[in-house]
């Protein structure tokens, strides 16, 4: 049906064109503001300068090693949070006793502004890598637990009764109804958690670390080298977009069997 699909395709093309235009306008406006000295260009930097700083830091090898360092912290903190969060969330959903026992801790973590505990965490686990991983883990684990628990609770009671009616065990209910049904909410929790883990990594590196993207931008910021300070931020933005979009794709792929 060309008459039906044609407008859809053209509107999608329009979306892409407009989106690129928006990006180009923003970057161009920034460059123009720096070129025309509307704002002090040393303080403002400009896309060209930031690009040059990116290339310079990359060729010196510091950006690559910082990215690897921060990436390792993120992977460790987020990975641990995903495993612990999903296991704890499922356990809390499956056994009432576990839920009652762990509920206060979850809400404590939920209500406490964890970044405020940063100095204390430094005392407990040490500067740099450990505190970044810990902060990323603590920030990320909460949305995963809460979402997993919510997903188990939201299991369709009709489906549960259907499995039971046909003589299914508790195990069958878990593998056939609860686990597949909870997937979208769990993945949504992971997506939220990824952003928070990244914040944890950055905050952990900003104070007293000696490697990582957060450390690098703090270092250059303190030396008033704006373009050099913005280069790691660009990489962090890229990292955030890649992780978020990756999880979104995974979500779409794993949820394909689901009726719309």
């Amino acid at each position: 049906m060309p008459s039906r699909s044609e407008p859809v395709r053209s509107s999608r093309r329009e979306a892409v064109v407009l989106g690129l235009t928006g990006l180009a306008l923003a970057v161009g406006g920034w460059e123009a503001a720096a070129r025309l000295s509307l704002v002090n260009p040393v303080v403002l930097a400009s896309p060209v300068r930031v690009g040059a700083a990116l290339a310079r830091q990359w060729s010196r090898g510091e950006l690559g090693s910082d990215l690897a360092w921060s990436g390792a912290e993120f992977a460790l903190g987020f990975g641990l949070a995903a495993v612990v969060g999903i296991v704890v969330g499922l356990a809390m959903g499956a056994w009432r006793g576990v839920e009652l026992a762990l509920d206060p801790f979850v809400w404590f973590l939920y209500a406490t502004p964890l970044v405020a505990l940063h100095p204390l965490l430094v005392v407990w686990v040490g500067f740099g890598f450990p505190v970044a991983v810990t902060l990323a883990f603590l920030l990320a684990v909460i949305p995963i637990v809460v979402n997993t628990l919510g997903a188990v609770r939201a299991a369709d009671p009709v489906l549960v009764r259907a499995v039971r009616a046909f003589g299914g065990s508790r195990r069958a209910v878990a593998t056939k109804v609860v686990l597949p049904g909870s997937l979208p909410l769990v993945l949504a929790g992971l997506r939220l958690a990824a952003g928070r883990a990244l914040v944890g990594v950055v905050v952990g590196e900003m104070f007293g670390a000696n490697a990582g993207l957060g450390f690098r931008m703090t270092l250059y910021g303190a030396r008033l080298r704006t373009a050099d300070a913005l280069a790691p931020v660009v990489l962090l933005a890229l990292l955030g977009v890649v992780v978020t979009q990756g999880l979104r794709l995974l979500e779409a792929r794993l949820g394909r069997w689901r009726p719309p």
């Binding site: 923003a26 502004p113 950055v202 957060g214 931008m217």
Partner: protein, 238 residues
Amino acid sequence: MLLGWQAAGTWGPAHRGIGATPAEVLRAGLGLLASGELLAHALVSLQELALGFVLAVLVGVPLGLAMGRVPRLGHLLDPLVMTGHATPRIALLPVLVLWLGIGVASKAALAFLGAVFPVLVNTLAGVRQLDPLWERAVRAFGGRSVTVLAKVVLPGTLPAVMGGLRLGLGRALIGVIVGEMYVSVAGVGQLLAVYGNAGRTGELLALAGLVGLVSLAGVQACRAAEARLGPWRRGPAP
């Protein structure tokens, strides 16, 4: 849990300087309050928080509504908003300090950046999931765009907007605290950094508890406002 904590701190392995007992935390908190130190710093932090958050709402909600109602505008700004949303805005802190100085402005800006994206994205999602039937119904009875806005768009997006405000408030608070911890002349975050570096765990935990209470109060206020604004809605907001 509190009793266990106190016992562990008094007799147990959690030795001094690293842990503090609840009694110590309480004493430290009262000491801070009595000296008047806390109040002055808290006022600065609240001012930064209010400035950043209110600006975020004033920008995020109208822009979200506009992007949702005018598809072209939505397409134009979508990639920018999504990139900003995925970036850890805390990372801009060193640059913000360069731009705006070490005073109130840089913290308010960080709070604004932290809050504006959740508010904007939630508002946008709220507008996009509106049932098109409602608008058609208003139009069929001769309603104009203003009527659609007042009767369909605003009430329909309210739960999503309030969800965004709740999220945004938390982000704004984190922005203020981290901004003050990083470099500042006053504020609760600065106190946190000072007592943290001095190893005074009691004061540190008392301050963290206070920040937690403020964030809890903010979330409850959002909930109450939501319930007041939409008493006709049944069930909790998504």
